[in-house]
């Protein structure tokens, strides 16, 4: 059916909760397209020949094909196309940095705004969840077993792809709940946990077993997973230990890692009245760092009732590594950006509680090896920021639990697992790895892409052996 294209140069805007309202609740910020808006936006896609969007997608979703289905109002058809490539469409539609991936390559973006691919993906996934009652069924077993370490985006993706091929997949998760960063890290207002649970239930319905409370490297080793009859093991154990700055005062009460702060709120539900997990009631909060995790921590602190929340970042606004949309949302919610500022000491009171943060102003010098301009401290520019809570969001270093208990598993000087090329093969036969455990802290979709590539490689490896 010929589609009448929508030539509006602008993307249909995403309806959102009013900033004045949302900064007091944990409900989802972005409300999602209506049916009409979705169909109308889908008609902006030119269905161009080269499909640059598709090659820019880490999991290679056939984007023009699913968008055409939306334009033709075949939502279930659109969902089928997405789910051929992605195990977690409702998640990716919400948290992918589309502006650097599919949408960044969209030809409509040359003279105007790109097609709202992420928003359409989310719409399709939500439509499916709300309208489809049919449960996915487990495919016929091929008799082979695979173990996956970590039920985060990478492990879930690998599990989904392998289960669809007939493998008996068991995921071992260290926490009491599956989802990894999707449940402990990304806040409810950006990714409702009910959506994550639904995606996980879908995986269980196709036969994936998830064993929680299993810290691999402690209760079982990788070698024992092989002894249990698994023919391959995929390590998707995530980013690991939070970094601190090693400045004086970091052990004062009121200094959190972003991981701890967010885990208390998200996984342990400290934002809910009557939660049994405590969290500090803060008035003035400094979040140190400029990535997406820093934005999540700052926006959470605001919702927890803090009056003033600062993002303290040593480079400028232009250099913030967080997604533009997250920075904009944070600004709308009243987060104060103290850029070109670096903490040098945390100040405490007589009870060991944080009472301030000594900072120094920075200026940008020549670009460093990362290509970003290097921040340099300005002499005699120290000042004290009046805060009672400090949240460190400056990255992580890899967890030693698996590498220290898996003989022959090669890691690099940072402690990340070394893999061969794009398929995730490690220095151990049959052991594959991907996601943050390999790359260091990165994005959900890159972890999913790695899980997908490894699933393919594992399938080829097991087939070649038998």
């Amino acid at each position: 059916m010929a589609i009448k294209r929508n030539m509006d140069p602008k993307k249909s805007p995403m309806p959102v909760q009013d900033p004045e309202v949302r900064r007091n609740n944990f409900d989802e910020v972005a409300l999602g397209y209506s049916y009409e808006t979705a169909v109308n936006e889908a008609k902006r896609c030119l269905n161009c020949k080269h499909k640059p969007c598709r090659s820019a997608c880490p999991v290679q979703i056939d984007i023009p094909a699913f968008i055409e289905k939306v334009a033709n109002e075949d939502m279930e058809g659109a969902y089928e196309i997405i789910s051929q490539s992605s195990s977690l469409p409702a998640v990716c539609g919400r948290v992918c940095p589309q502006e650097n991936q599919c949408e960044g390559k969209c030809v409509r973006g040359i003279k105007g705004e790109s097609v709202g691919i992420g928003r359409l993906e989310r719409f399709v996934a939500d439509w499916h969840r709300e309208h489809c009652t049919e449960k996915p069924t487990a495919p016929e077993s091929n008799g082979h077993k695979v173990a996956i370490i970590g039920a985060g985006p990478s492990g879930l993706t690998a599990a989904g792809d392998l289960a669809k091929l007939g493998y008996k997949v068991t995921i071992y998760e260290a926490l009491h709940l599956a989802g990894g960063v999707l449940v402990y890290g990304i806040p409810e207002f950006r990714l409702p946990k009910a959506i994550v649970q639904k995606e996980i239930e879908n995986l269980k319905a196709i036969g994936v077993d998830i064993e929680t409370n299993m810290v691999i490297g402690k209760v079982l080793t990788v070698d024992e997973l092989f002894e249990m009859g698994n023919e391959a093991v995929y390590i998707g154990s995530g980013a690991g230990l939070p970094r601190f700055m090693n400045i004086p005062g970091e052990s004062l009460k009121g200094v959190y890692s972003a991981n701890e702060y967010l885990t208390r709120i998200n996984l342990m539900k400290a934002y809910k009245e009557g939660s049994k997990t405590p969290i500090k009631k803060s008035k003035n909060v400094a979040v140190v760092g400029g990535g997406n995790v820093a934005m999540d921590a700052a926006r959470s602190a605001k919702r927890m009732g803090a009056e003033n929340v600062y993002i303290v970042y040593r480079r400028g606004m232009e250099e913030l590594p967080a997604r533009k949309e997250e920075v904009e949302h944070a600004e709308e919610e009243g987060i104060i950006f103290k850029t070109l500022t670096n903490p040098i000491e945390v100040l405490g009171d007589e009870n060991g509680e944080v009472k301030g943060m000594k900072c120094i102003e920075m200026e940008l010098g020549e670009p460093d090896e990362s290509g970003r301009r290097r921040p340099i401290a300005k002499e005699n520019s120290e000042f004290v920021l009046d805060v009672d809570t400090m949240i460190m969001s400056i990255g992580t270093s890899p967890n030693p639990l698996i590498r220290s208990t898996t003989p022959g598993l090669e890691t690099n000087r940072h402690g990340c697992i070394v893999t061969d090329g794009d398929n995730g093969l490690t220095s151990r036969e049959g052991v594959y790895a991907g996601g943050d455990a390999v790359t260091g802290a990165a994005t959900v979709i890159l972890a999913m892409g790695a899980g997908k590539a490894a699933a393919k490689a594992i399938d080829e490896y097991i087939k070649s052996k038998n």
Partner: protein, 280 residues
């Protein structure tokens, strides 16, 4: 779910639970810990392993009721199950090459000191144990310590049992009697461990302490359990929980331990009020 196969009250505030957890029992070593959640909405709390039985597939924990989480744990009865039980976490205590050791336990810390004393004794090491309690009613594991030690000194704050005084008094006595220890292992309240370390520093005896700070995941992810050891930041969950006591910044650890004191007091109060209502 993890079934409670045995529950026993050791004193008015301390109880023991033997829990079915075969995979953990298979790997557990003295010095390691578990994280439990009593119920689906409970807090995650670490507890050091008090004992394990590889054949039976059980792990024993001994806990003192200090806040909401342990109070909730205590509501569970024999035959019921814990929601979550994860482990064995942390590094096992080092026992290699030790020939003569003084094991010092304080209060409920004795529950963690005991399995180490037992293991050392089994390995042929000469174990002297010093255990301290506030009073006679709170004494736990006396027979067990007796069996694992060639010398046992029991101290109480009020003199209602054993000798009146602190564990450091008894330890110093033992040292002055000419006992040469390869190592002192001290497990108990932070303030006790701090003073044991000050004493052993004076006599230049290596001292290992077991730290039990606030923790969430227990696998290194949250960093809540961080301590300063020898000027470096260490995570008790992956680097410990055992550390060289002469390097630990105890004052800082004591401060950090009080982070949620108000919250805990409130939880205790709320819970007691509930119990009171039930009794009426």
């Amino acid at each position: 779910m993890y079934k409670i196969v045995r529950k026993e009250s050791l004193n008015p505030t301390v109880s023991l639970m033997e829990i079915e957890a075969p995979l953990i029992a298979k790997k557990a070593e003295p010095g390691q810990f578990i994280i439990f959640r009593a119920k689906e909405d409970s807090e995650r709390v670490p507890l050091t392993i008090a004992d394990f039985d590889r054949e039976k597939g059980t792990v024993t924990i001994i806990y003192q009721i200090v806040g909401g989480a342990t109070m909730e744990l205590d509501t569970l009865k024999e035959g019921e199950s814990l929601q979550d039980f994860v482990g064995p976490l942390g590094q096992p205590s080092e026992t290699d090459g030790l020939k003569k050791v003084a094991v010092v336990g304080g209060g409920v810390g004795c529950a963690i000191a005991y399995p180490i004393a037992k293991k050392l004794s089994r390995l042929g090491c000469e174990v002297h144990s010093v255990v301290g309690f506030r009073n006679k009613d709170l004494v736990i594991l006396e027979d067990e310590f007796k069996a694992a030690s060639t010398e046992l000194r029991i101290m109480t704050d009020d003199g209602s049992y054993g000798t009146k005084g602190l564990v450091t008094n008894a330890l110093e006595e033992l040292i002055n009697e000419g006992n040469q220890y390869d190592e002192v292992i001290a497990i108990g309240p932070l303030v006790m461990m701090k003073f044991v370390c000050l004493l052993t520093k004076k006599y230049n005896i290596k001292t290992v302490v077991s730290m039990n700070p606030i923790m969430i995941d227990g696998t290194g992810m949250c960093g809540g359990c961080r301590l300063t050891v020898g000027g470096e930041t260490k995570f008790a969950c992956v680097d410990g929980p055992d550390f060289d006591g002469h390097l630990v910044d105890f004052d800082e650890a004591m401060h950090r331990g009080t982070m949620y004191k108000d919250f805990e007091a409130h939880a205790r109060e709320a819970s007691c009020n509930l119990l009171n209502q039930e009794e009426k």
